[in-house]
């Protein structure tokens, strides 16, 4: 027995099955380093982020500069492609690589912005409904039913287009139509937390309701809300792309990926890369975000055992 404890102190990693000795923080690090999808998603997303932030700084390319003598050049791996235009050029002779590069910034801005707006609305309503219960809960549930029944995309299309499409309007409208998930999750989390002893203790020493919500409840719902936030970023990015594709979102010449695909649609037969490339960019970004979100859910769930591998 003594020998075993001694060994364990020397080589803690060789006793992986004894996870009881780990602090919650160590456990989460252990779980996430064992979760393949989480690692892959995080890696891919970091690469895309660095690309979006530093790409335009390092590479001297412009997404708006037109050169009508160089229209519809093929990408470098096709016959006739040059390294000057890695992804070729579009119908107006603009560098397609530069347009996709700048499009990354737009997608990320709108994805994170819209998810933030949705989170603020959803979490506020959800925490209030969960904490106060009673008629507040009834009203919030009613609001939720209304939100779910409204055709979100159609309403977003109408409002964005008729107010006047700009990045800010797109962010707020997509955010305002996507808060249902945040509400449901924060409501049920709050309902569980508010009956725990430490919340009772906080109110016993005289903490106000506002203090309890801000200091005791919201910090403990964070892990669940981050998961929803990640998934909503992916949904918002796809929504923005759909709006822009239909011509009721971001307007030309801004290089939004959805818009690039809409513009490439005219040349679908002879220049298919014009729709394939921005689509792959969109797919890669959303897949990495979704994998990160799924991974976060597995990692932050205390009932989920340490990965089998």
């Amino acid at each position: 027995m003594i020998f075993k404890t001694f060994l364990k102190r020397l080589f803690p990693r060789s006793f992986d099955e004894q996870i009881y000795n780990l602090t919650p923080k160590e456990l989460i690090i252990r779980k996430s380093s064992n979760h393949g999808g989480f690692k892959f998603g995080l890696f891919l997303l970091t690469v895309i982020f660095l690309f979006a932030i530093f790409g335009p700084v390092i590479l001297d390319v412009s997404p708006y500069e037109q050169d009508l003598t160089k229209r519809l050049l093929p990408p470098v791996w096709k016959e006739g492609g040059t390294w000057e235009y890695i992804f070729g050029t579009d119908g107006n002779g603009r560098d397609y690589f530069a347009r996709i590069l700048y499009g990354t910034r737009i997608s990320l801005t709108i994805g994170f912005g819209a998810a933030c707006v949705g989170m603020i609305i959803g979490v506020t309503l959800g925490v209030c409904a969960g904490y106060f219960g009673g008629w507040v809960d009834q009203i919030v549930s009613y609001l939720l039913t209304c939100q779910l029944a409204l055709p979100g995309l159609l309403l977003a299309m109408t409002i964005v287009f008729l107010i006047g499409p700009s990045i800010t309007v797109v962010i707020f409208v997509i955010g305002a139509t996507h808060w249902a998930f945040f509400l449901v999750v924060s409501r049920s989390a709050t309902q569980k937390i508010k009956n725990l002893d430490y919340v009772t203790a906080a109110s016993a020493i005289g903490a106000s309701k506002f203090q309890i919500i801000m200091k005791d409840i919201i910090p403990n719902t964070v892990s669940q809300i981050i998961v929803i936030f990640t998934l909503e970023v992916g949904i918002a990015i796809l929504n923005e792309a759909s709006l822009s594709f239909l011509g009721v979102g971001i307007q030309p010449p801004t290089p939004s990926w959805g818009l690039l695909i809409a513009e490439g649609k005219e040349a679908i037969f002879f220049q298919p890369w014009l729709i394939i490339l921005p689509g792959i960019a969109l797919f890669t970004l959303v897949v990495s975000i979704n994998m990160l979100g799924d991974g976060l859910r597995d990692v932050s769930d205390p009932n989920n055992k340490v990965s089998e591998e």
Partner: protein
């Protein structure tokens, strides 16, 4: 059961009423309809003239009641853009969207249910991983892009299906695959977890110990209970398809309600848009009600 249905019906009706108010005020108050018709750089006098001509200068509550009572008399308003009553537009365009919605839900069923069953019967196997991969992919692929890629492969590179249009049922095959694929992940995951839960239940162990095995056990005992939640989600998904038809219909040039919605938005045709938003919301509510009733019918515990 009747009491249950009546309770649900009251909720649906009150939500429908609220939504009619929300839609009307959003589209007539947040957006200025006269401005929308006149265009962005119209003169002030022109906007005023349009406001008078269409009666936008009256109070918004009066216009709301006029609009709302009109709906019950079959008068859905007059479209400025198409110069037709909105009701005739709806009647013209609805069959395409209904066909598309029904066919795409069939695609969802055909893909997700067998895949979910296979995945649940062999957890953590190759087929389970593949099913998960399909779900992750389908969740991240933008719908309109999938449509274009389908056209590129199955209509242009290998001309099996027509590129676009809505003349025959054959034209609807690609669009319904695209629209159906979007609900595959949700339904498949539900099928998989549902069946996994049921397989580990006590009564299945009892059935197994009394000599049932293989497909007979799955079909006669397990599947019936595992399908309960799937059926209601499918009903909800069918309701979603109407609102979701906007993108697919414009990619494949199908003259249905979704394309009508897009064209009306681009033409700033508020009467048509507000009716469409309201109709899609009502369809969604109706299928939700249907799902609730189906669930209560199939599972007596829910009727309490």
């Amino acid at each position: 059961m009747l009491k249950f249905i009546a309770g649900r019906l009251i909720v649906v009706l009150s939500v429908g009423l609220t939504l009619s108010i929300v839609t009307f005020f959003l589209l007539n108050y947040v957006i200025d309809p006269a401005q929308a018709i006149a265009g962005e750089d119209a003169l002030f006098e022109e906007i005023e003239q349009i406001r008078e001509q269409y009666g936008f200068d009256r109070s918004i509550t009066v216009r709301y009641f006029e609009w709302f009572t009109g709906i019950f008399q079959g008068d859905l308003g007059e479209s400025y853009y198409w110069n037709k009553p909105v009701i005739s537009l709806l009647v013209d365009r609805a069959p395409e969207t209904i066909t598309l919605a029904l066919m795409s839900v069939s695609v969802t069923i055909l893909i997700s249910i067998p895949l979910g069953i296979m995945a649940a019967l062999n957890p953590n196997s190759l087929i389970d991983r593949m099913a998960l991969g399909i779900a992750v992919t389908a969740q991240a692929v933008p719908n309109f892009w999938l449509g274009l890629i389908m056209i590129l492969i199955f209509a242009l590179a290998f001309p099996i299906f027509p590129v676009s249009g809505d003349k025959t049922l054959f034209h609807f095959v690609l669009p319904s695959i695209v629209l159906g694929a979007s609900s595959v992940p949700a339904v498949m995951r539900l099928m998989r977890t549902g069946l996994l839960d049921v397989i580990n239940a006590d009564y299945i162990r009892t059935a197994r110990s009394s000599g049932f095995y293989g497909w007979r056990l799955i079909f006669n005992h397990a599947l019936r209970n595992a399908l309960l939640p799937v059926v209601s989600v499918l009903a909800v998904q069918l309701g979603n398809k109407f609102g979701g038809s906007v993108i697919t219909e414009s990619v494949f040039a199908i003259n249905g309600l979704g394309r009508l919605a897009l064209e009306s938005i681009l033409g700033a045709d508020i009467p048509t848009v507000q009716i469409l938003v309201f109709v899609f919301a009502i369809i969604f509510l109706f299928f939700n009600l249907l799902a609730d009733i189906l669930n209560a019918y199939l599972d007596p515990r829910l009727r309490l």
